[in-house]
Amino acid sequence: MPLVSVEELADLVPDGALVALPPDNSLVPNALVRALIRAGRRALRLLGVPVSGYATDLLIGAGCVAALESSGVTLGEAGVAPRFLAALKRGTLAMTDATCPAIHTMLQAAEKGVPFMPLRGILGSDLLAHRPDWKVINNPFAPGADPIVLLPALAPDVAIFHAMMADDDGNVHVGRRHELATVAHAARRSLVTVERMSPRNLLEDEHLAAGTIAAVYVEAIAIAERGAWPLALLDEYAVDSAHLAEYARLARSDAGFGAYLDRHVFEAARRSFA
């Protein structure tokens, strides 16, 4: 399994790729997100699994994103996602609205290699009218009328996430965050940042194995200490709420967002490379 730098990992995400991102509470690869911005990545299509937050807002603000599919976009207690709202207003972002379990289901279908999966609910929601890719059939197992939504399999080009550790074989440990396993299984390839390397094989340990995503799904790994910052990493470090509040404040204006990018994405990298 190639161990690369975060910048090299970013180079493995092509312009225009459909990129799956975890929600803010769960293993967001912010170091890699900053590297994607520095690399000038363009026209990315982001998928929130199943919702989107800080990392998505940052990528949109930096001009990396052409389209977003998500069930919700918010900075949580820090408020609305300002760059998302600005891009939507300017018409520079193609937004596809979904509902959380539908995104999970479309990924599960891809994970399983089936062309679709059904899901209850959704009928009567205007989401359906704006999702020509979602179909309604009558449940073939019902004796009478029983409309049900079928959702198509959705295989992201790349899943990117941050994990606690990786081993030399390329297995990565995400603990209880098993919804990440689903997207890692569903995506054509996964690019992973980790806090550290594990000296032992993660799949050989019965306790760690359950929270481990196997190397078969992983294309490359980079070490990024505190790579989820300013978001939390499970038990290891907490969310930097003050930083998120500062982001929410600055990102309200184009100038403020530009200053934020300069300081926390570009200058910070120059400092660390100096």
Binding site: P50, L85, K89, D97, I122, L123, R176, S241
Partner: protein
């Protein structure tokens, strides 16, 4: 001095206990819902045996497979009660979390539908909750339906809204009639002030009750053990509502 949030939490707790509604053995509460969470913790701390799943609690929530497991459980009908809000809510209990203007929210954009399009139909009981009570929020007809309050008879649906709680009042929802009825107004409000602040038509009794304040036992529980439980998951909320505790 009773905080409005404390009063709303107590009002929600009474709605949860309503013996006429389907049982609430397992209640799930989302990240953006501190007042519903406070209501559930209040009941737990007072001895009601409800299972409470806090979706974004970093540890100790019942889901070892992430939030997908919540939706799976709900799909099975094993989540009895859920709370939903809305950027707009209308008189037929439709909710809109998308936005206003043209799709997908050119005039105002809300955060998105989250799990509402699914949860509203598969959960036996939903309590609608929105602090802001204004004609902007409570509209005659939502611009977009994230999740419908009513469904045709052939659509699989386990339940719908039991009630709507706002910063001004409690409404009950009658699914058969597709209409809200004013149940009580919070202290400081009147039937008329609520009518003026509500954009949708609803029924009201001749004499409208006042929403009861939490009694001293409930207040003590809220300010003590409930606050202690909520501090990790909802730090901003706790600092705002109980700054000196």
């Amino acid at each position: 001095m009773i905080q409005p949030e404390e009063r709303m939490a107590a009002a929600l707790a009474r709605l949860i206990l309503d013996p006429a509604a389907p049982p609430a053995r397992h209640v799930a509460v989302g990240a953006a819902s501190p007042i519903p969470a406070a209501a559930c913790w209040l009941l737990r701390k007072l001895g009601t045996p409800i299972r409470l799943s806090l979706l974004h609690r970093p540890r100790g929530n019942p889901f070892s497979a992430g939030t997908r497991e919540l939706f799976d459980l709900a799909g099975q009908g094993r989540i009895d009660l859920f709370f939903l809000g809305g950027g707009q809510i209308d008189g037929q209990a439709n909710i809109n979390l998308i936005g206003t203007g043209d799709w997908p929210g050119t005039a105002a954009r809300f955060p998105g539908s989250f799990g509402s399009a699914f949860m509203y139909l598969v959960t036996p009981r939903t309590i609608l909750f929105r602090e802001e009570h204004s004609p902007r929020v409570l509209v005659p007809r939502v611009d977009f339906i994230s999740a419908p309050g009513l469904s045709p008879p052939d659509v699989f649906r386990r339940g719908t809204a039991q009630a709507l709680l706002t910063g001004k009042a409690v409404f009950r929802f009658d699914a058969a009639r597709g209409r809200f009825t004013l149940a009580s107004v919070h202290p400081g409000e009147t039937a008329e002030s609520v009518r003026a602040a509500t954009g949708f038509a609803y029924d009201a009794p001749e004499t409208v009750a006042t929403t009861a304040d939490p009694d001293p036992e409930w207040l003590a529980a809220l300010r003590g053990p409930v606050r202690a439980e909520m501090l990790e998951t909802y730090p901003e909320f706790c600092r705002r509502v109980w700054p000196t505790a």
